[in-house]
C-alpha cells in the first residue's frame, strides 16, 4: 500500500516466467504508483519485453500475479478485461501498425470501435493525435511508406487514441537519432503532465531513463537488481548494476550461447 492507503496502479507479486524450463523472469516484485513514470532497464535479453507483456496480459505468468489497482488481473471477467484494455495504451517496439490501412485509419480504428462519436469528432480527434506526434502531414500515408521513427511515433498516436490512464512503451527511443529521441522523451513528460497517466517505459537508453523516470528498476538475467529513483539506483554498489549503469561491456553471461565477439573461433567464417 502507498502512504495514503490506495493500492498501487500496478503491482507484481513473485512474477515468474519460464520458457522451456529456463526462468526468464524470476520472482519479480515491483510496485508502480498512480501517475508515475516507471522505467524498466537492463541489458539486452534480460526479460524487459517479457515483463511488459505480463503487465499488459499478453503473456500469462508461469507463477505469481499481476495486480491492477489492487485487483489480480487473472480474476477479471471478459467485460472487465475489455474495460481495462480500453484504458490501457501499448506502444510496441516497432509500432505494430496495421499495414493494410492508412495512418489515419490506424488511429481512428479504436475510436470507431469503442466510442459512439459523430464522424466529424473522430476525424478531428485523429488529427489532434497525429499532430501531437508530428505526423499530421503524413495522415494519409500507408504504414509501409513511413520511416522506422515515424512508425514508432504513429504507434504512440494509436496507443493514446482513447486517452488511456495506463500507457506502456517498449523501447520508445531505440533506433532513433538523439534529437528525435529527445523529442520522444519530451512527449512522455508532456503526456504525464497533460493526462496524468501512469506510464511504464522499457528502455536501455540511460540519458532517456534519467530524464523521464520517477522511479526505475534494473533487471538482469530475470532478477530485479535495483529499484528506486535515479539517485537511489545510482547509489547501489552491486557490481552488475554498476556495470550496466557505467556502460561497461555487458556482463559476459547474457543468455545461453553468448560468446565473446572478438577472438571467437571461426568468428568471421
Amino acid at each position: 500500500m502507498a502512504e495514503d492507503g490506495t493500492p498501487p496502479a500496478l503491482e507484481t507479486r513473485g512474477l515468474t516466467v519460464r520458457f522451456g524450463g529456463r526462468a526468464v523472469l524470476d520472482r519479480i516484485d515491483i510496485r508502480i504508483r498512480r501517475g508515475e513514470t516507471y522505467v524498466v532497464m537492463g541489458p539486452s535479453g534480460c526479460g524487459k519485453t517479457t515483463l511488459l507483456k505480463c503487465l499488459v496480459r499478453l503473456l500469462p505468468p508461469t507463477e505469481g500475479s499481476v495486480l491492477v489497482d489492487g485487483r489480480d488481473v487473472a480474476g477479471l471477467g471478459p467485460e472487465e478485461s475489455d474495460d481495462l484494455r480500453r484504458a490501457t495504451g501499448m506502444v510496441f517496439q516497432n509500432g505494430a501498425l496495421l499495414n493494410s490501412i492508412s495512418l489515419r485509419e490506424n488511429v481512428a480504428l479504436p475510436m470507431r470501435a469503442h466510442l459512439d462519436m459523430p464522424p466529424g469528432v473522430v476525424e478531428e480527434a485523429v488529427r489532434m493525435k497525429l499532430a501531437q506526434v508530428g505526423l499530421l502531414e503524413a495522415a494519409d500515408r500507408m504504414p509501409a511508406e513511413l520511416s522506422g521513427g515515424m512508425r514508432k511515433r504513429a504507434g504512440i498516436a494509436r496507443a493514446l487514441a482513447l486517452d488511456p490512464r495506463l500507457v506502456f512503451f517498449d523501447e520508445p527511443t531505440s533506433g532513433l537519432d538523439p534529437v528525435t529521441s529527445d523529442g520522444m522523451d519530451n512527449l512522455v513528460l508532456e503526456l504525464k503532465a497533460a493526462l496524468g497517466a501512469t506510464m511504464v517505459v522499457v528502455t536501455h537508453d540511460l540519458p532517456s531513463a534519467r530524464k523521464i523516470a520517477d522511479r526505475l528498476v534494473v533487471l538482469s538475467r530475470g532478477r530485479a537488481l535495483a529499484e528506486g529513483t535515479w539517485d537511489e539506483v545510482q547509489a547501489t554498489t552491486d557490481p552488475e548494476v554498476r556495470g550496466f549503469l557505467d556502460r561497461h561491456a555487458e556482463p559476459p553471461v547474457i543468455g545461453e550461447g553468448a560468446t565473446p565477439l572478438v577472438g571467437a573461433p571461426g568468428g568471421m567464417a
Binding site: 499495414n99 493494410s100 475510436m111 466510442l115 459512439d116 462519436m117 459523430p118 466529424g120 469528432v121 473522430v122 476525424e123 478531428e124 480527434a125 488529427r127 489532434m128 493525435k129 499532430a131 501531437q132 499530421l136 494519409d140 500507408m142 504504414p143 509501409a144 486517452d163 508532456e190 503526456l191 503532465a193 497533460a194 493526462l195
Partner: protein, 367 residues
C-alpha cells in the same frame, strides 16, 4: 443592416466520453438553426473535465464556423482545457484544412494509362522469360553450389509434392471423360472409341492443362508469397548487398525447376487420365482390358504426347515468370503479400489458358 445577435451555447460537464458526443450534437444543432453570419459563443463555464474527444467536438464546431465565415469564441474555458489543447496541438490542427479528396482522372486518361501499364507489363513478362532461358539453360551451373541447391529444393517442392494431387485429379477427370464420351457415343454402338477419345484428349489437352493449373495454384502462389515476404523483410535487399543478384538467385532456380517438373507431372497426368478412362471402359462398358490397351496405343501418336509435353513446358514458364514477378515487384507491407499470391494464381491460370488457345489454333491451322 444591424448585426445578428450572438448565439450562446452553454456546454455541460463533463466535456468528455459520452458527454463529448452530446456536446457535438448540441453544437451541430445550434449551428443548423443559426442565421448566417450570426456569431457563436461556446460557454464552458460549467465544464470541469475535458478529454480529447470533448476538445475534438469543440474543434469541429470551430472549424465549421470558420468555413462558414461565422465569428466564434470560446468563453470561460477551464485551465485544464487550455493545457490539453496545447498538448494536442489544437491550434495547428485547426490551422490546416483536411486535404480534399482528389477527383478521379477522366475516363479516357485512365484507359490510356491502363493500356500503357499493360504494355509495360507484357514487356516485363517477356524479358523475364528470356532472362529465365538464359539463366536456366545457357549458363546453367555457373554460380555454383548455392544455386544448384536451390534448384534441387525447388524440384522437390514443386514436383514431388504435386504428384499425388495431379494423379488423383487426372484419374477422376479421365473417369468423367470416359463416361461422358460413352454417353455421347451410345446410339452409335461405338463405345470402343472411348479409348481413342480419352487417350487423345488427355495427352493433347487435359493432362498438361490440369498439371499446369494445379502447379499454378500450389507453386505459383507460393513463389509470389515467398519472394514477396523476402522483399518486405528486406531479405531481397540483403541478397543484393551480398552481390547475389536476387533476380537470378530467386527466380532462375524456380524457373528451371518448373520447366522440369511440369512436363514430368504432365506424364503422370497423362497416365492417370488414361487409367481413369480404362477403369470406366473395362468395368462399366465391358471392354476387355487388352483391347482397351491396344486401342489406346494404336490411337496415340508420338506427336500427341509430344505436343502435350511441349505445351506443358511453356505453361511452366508462364507460371514461374508470373509467380516470381509478383513477388519481386511487390511494394508495400506484409498485407501486399496475400494479394500478390492471389494475383499470381489468377494471372498464371489466365496466361496458361490464353497461351493454350493460341497454341491450339496455331497447331491446327499451320501444321
Amino acid at each position: 443592416m444591424n448585426t445578428p445577435t450572438e448565439i450562446l451555447v452553454p456546454l455541460a460537464d463533463p466535456l468528455a466520453g459520452p458527454g463529448a458526443a452530446a456536446a457535438a450534437r448540441a453544437l451541430g444543432e445550434a449551428l443548423r438553426g443559426a442565421p448566417p453570419g450570426a456569431p457563436l459563443a461556446i460557454d464552458l463555464g460549467a465544464v470541469l473535465r475535458v478529454d480529447t474527444f470533448g476538445l475534438a467536438a469543440l474543434g469541429e464546431a470551430v472549424r465549421r464556423c470558420r468555413r462558414e465565415g461565422r465569428p466564434v469564441r470560446v468563453l470561460r474555458a477551464p485551465a485544464g482545457a487550455g493545457r490539453l489543447a496545447a498538448f494536442l496541438r489544437l491550434d495547428r490542427v485547426l490551422a490546416t484544412e483536411p486535404p480534399p479528396a482528389a477527383p478521379p482522372p477522366p475516363l479516357l486518361e485512365r484507359a490510356g494509362e491502363a493500356v500503357l501499364a499493360f504494355r509495360d507489363y507484357m514487356v516485363t513478362l517477356l524479358s523475364m522469360t528470356a532472362e529465365g532461358y538464359r539463366h536456366a539453360f545457357v549458363d546453367p551451373l555457373r554460380g555454383g553450389a548455392v544455386r544448384a541447391e536451390q534448384f534441387v529444393r525447388q524440384l522437390a517442392e514443386t514436383g514431388m509434392g504435386a504428384v499425388p494431387i495431379v494423379v488423383l485429379i487426372n484419374f477422376m477427370i479421365g473417369l468423367i471423360l470416359a463416361f461422358q464420351m460413352a454417353y455421347a457415343l451410345r446410339d452409335y454402338g461405338a463405345t470402343l472409341y472411348v479409348a481413342r477419345f480419352v487417350g487423345i484428349t488427355v495427352t493433347r489437352e487435359i493432362g498438361p492443362l490440369i498439371a499446369a493449373i494445379l502447379v499454378a495454384g500450389r507453386s505459383g502462389s507460393a513463389m509470389a508469397a515467398e519472394i514477396g515476404t523476402m522483399v518486405v523483410t528486406e531479405e531481397v535487399d540483403a541478397l543484393e548487398m551480398m552481390a547475389l543478384r536476387p533476380r537470378r538467385f530467386l527466380f532462375s532456380p524456380r524457373f528451371a525447376a518448373l520447366a522440369v517438373t511440369v512436363p514430368a507431372l504432365c506424364i503422370f497426368a497423362d497416365l492417370a487420365g488414361i487409367l481413369g478412362g480404362a477403369f470406366v471402359g473395362v468395368l462399366s462398358y465391358g471392354i476387355p482390358a487388352p483391347t482397351y490397351y491396344s486401342e489406346t496405343v494404336n490411337a496415340l501418336r508420338v506427336t500427341d504426347i509430344g505436343s502435350g509435353l511441349v505445351k506443358s513446358f511453356f505453361f511452366a514458364n508462364i507460371v514461374a515468370v508470373i509467380g516470381c514477378l509478383h513477388g519481386i515487384r511487390l511494394r508495400g507491407g506484409p498485407d501486399a503479400v496475400g494479394r500478390a499470391a492471389t494475383t499470381a494464381v489468377v494471372e498464371s491460370i489466365i496466361g496458361v489458358i490464353l497461351f493454350d488457345a493460341l497454341y491450339t489454333v496455331l497447331v491446327y491451322f499451320v501444321f
